[in-house]
């Protein structure tokens, strides 16, 4: 079980009008069950590409990916994705959006009442019981992202993939959702991989931080272990020397070793 998600010598080349473009190369990564991994790097470093590979939305040009011992072959509900821009279907209510996922995964074995209960439970988990029957345009950005998280978790995925889930939110909402995500993931023990460009978010949430070098031909530069005890409290961590140290490690990597030339 030490290699729950396993990425082996992966390379991705995109064919563009101006010839081939190597997005990422020589990626080797193993994620343990129940681990929370962050992938951090400057924009264009292929961190989303790596996440999409695990999701199965794109295929590697070279190398292979495995999830719980099986090769990843296309997307599937056992690797649920929380998209950056929530990607809720605007014509379905919050309930409808989550139910679509629940129905897909559990309708063969369970009756309607049980599917509805799962949907309501998922919405309750993210604190949205009151907005069940609202349409996405009737709720705030933070609430939309909560529905996105509820939709992903409702499928009881083996791996939860988060693609800059809080990138579009304001700082206060982001902090709230980070705390809730920490609580939910701790309770469910779901293996999670999150793409982020927020250093504090990475240190606060992760067990390990995967730091990527700049693209093109980006690869994993360093992996930082975050041995802060859980449950973590953002206020207490501000004074924590280990936290400060880890934070500065990530910052040093990003702004000294992988400093972006003025874009």
């Amino acid at each position: 079980m030490s290699k729950y998600v396993h990425v082996e010598n992966v390379k991705v080349v995109f064919e563009t009008k101006n010839g081939s473009f190597t997005a990422i190369t020589d990626i080797d990564l193993s994620v343990q069950q129940g681990e929370f991994i962050s992938i951090i790097g400057h924009s264009g470093c292929g961190k989303s590409t790596l996440l999409n590979l695990v999701a199965g939305l794109i295929e590697p040009t070279e190398g292979a990916l495995f999830c719980s011992g099986r090769e990843i072959d296309g997307p599937g509900p056992e690797r649920a994705v929380v998209f950056q821009n929530h990607s809720l279907l605007p014509w379905l209510t919050c309930f409808g959006n989550v139910y679509l996922a629940v129905e897909r995964v559990f309708s063969r074995k369970e009756d309607k009442a049980s599917l509805k209960k799962r949907t309501n439970d998922a919405l309750e988990l993210v604190g949205l019981s009151h907005a069940t029957h609202k349409l996405p345009h009737e709720i705030s950005g933070g609430m939309k992202q909560r529905v996105g998280i509820a939709r992903a978790l409702s499928m009881q995925p083996k791996v939860l993939l988060l693609d800059e889930p809080f990138g579009a939110l304001d700082a206060l909402t982001r902090a709230n959702l980070q705390d809730e995500l920490m609580r939910i993931v701790a309770a469910s023990g779901t293996t999670s991989i999150m793409v982020t460009h927020d250093v504090d978010e990475a240190v606060l949430l992760s067990d390990r931080i995967v730091m990527m070098t700049n693209g093109p031909s980006a690869t994993i530069g360093e992996i930082l272990n975050v041995n802060l005890p859980r449950p973590r409290n953002r206020l207490a961590l501000v004074e924590n020397t280990e936290y400060t140290h880890l934070r500065s490690e990530v910052l040093k990597f990003l702004y000294e070793r992988q400093a972006k030339k003025a874009a």
Binding site: A55, G56, F83, N85, S87, L89, L100
Partner: protein, 305 residues
């Protein structure tokens, strides 16, 4: 009234249980508060009506003035001309015409109502068939690049052809003017629906399709939960454009094919030199076209998110 009678009952009843009285009192209270609530919005409406009247004036005055000037201009023009009837003459003729819209003196002399209904029926059938074929084909074109490649040269070639150019083909194939007219409606109204639907499918955000892929939805679920709702606004635009085209074309088609219909009626009245009736027909065609458009706009609005 009901509240008062309950009240009396409570008072008259000498030995009611305490709970009963309480229940009744509560009921009365609820009734009273409901009455109060009902009164408040009424007052608000009265208060609002002043500004509402002002708003109404701003909204209705310019169009009314425009219409009035139009009629005056028309009357002046009619005075100068020997053949063009003025508004008054046309109005009188219209009153006479609409006093019996559904008379039937044989196939060549029917009331205006019959003519209008016949035209609408042709448009309905031709347009309906076009929707039945055009919309699914539009979905296929949008969803499958191969199918798009197959159909795009044919569509690009046929779409700019004037609708009436199709009439001889219709007459030749169907050997009858009625289906030929419907055929012209069909072929001219199919393009906007087909093309708009296809464009709608290609415009679906990749995010939605990624959701479908991650959930591994079946083709049917993708269609009902993602494709169809996402394309619906585009489709409704196509439907609206199509019905506009169909209503434009029916008049011309009927002038050529004859039979009972508003287009043929115009032509018939021209042969009778009844110019008032031609002017009335122009207004009827305009108003019906406007109503069709407004009706479809109303439906289309319901499908916006």
């Amino acid at each position: 009234m009901a509240v008062i009678s309950i009240n009396r009952k409570v008072k008259d009843d000498i030995s009611p249980s305490v709970i009963k009285v309480e229940n009744n009192v509560m009921n009365i209270d609820v009734g009273k508060s409901e009455d109060k609530k009902a009164e408040i919005p009424n007052k608000k409406i009265i208060l609002l009506s002043k500004s509402a009247r002002e708003f109404l004036f701003k909204k209705t005055f310019p169009p009314l003035l425009g219409v009035a000037l139009f009629i005056v201009g028309w009357a002046l023009l009619a005075q100068q001309s020997e053949n063009l009837p003025g508004p008054e003459k046309t109005w009188n003729s219209a009153v006479e015409l609409f006093s019996d819209p559904f008379y039937d003196n044989g196939p060549n002399d029917k009331g205006i109502g019959w003519n209008l209904l016949n035209s609408l029926q042709r448009v309905g059938i031709g347009f309906g068939l076009a929707a039945l074929i055009g919309i699914p084909v539009g979905f296929m074109i949008g969803r499958f690049a191969f199918f798009n490649g197959m159909t795009s040269p044919i569509i690009s070639l046929l779409r700019p052809v004037s609708p009436l150019a199709w009439l001889p083909i219709g007459l030749l194939v169907f050997q009858d003017s009625q289906p030929a007219a419907i055929w012209v409606i069909f072929i001219s109204s199919i393009w906007p629906m087909m093309i708009n639907t296809a464009v709608g499918v290609t415009k679906i955000p990749q995010d939605y399709m990624n959701v479908a892929r991650v959930l591994k939805l079946s083709e049917w679920k993708i269609f009902t939960r993602i494709l169809f709702p996402a394309v619906l606004p585009y489709m409704m635009t196509g439907v609206r454009l199509s019905i506009g085209v169909a209503w434009l074309v029916i008049v011309a088609a009927e002038m050529l094919t004859g039979g009972v219909g508003i287009g043929f009626w115009v032509w018939d009245e021209w042969n009778n030199l009844n110019v008032e009736h031609i002017i009335i027909a122009i207004f009827i065609i305009g108003i019906v076209g406007l109503l069709l458009e407004k009706f479809l706009m109303l439906i289309a609005k319901r499908f916006e998110y």
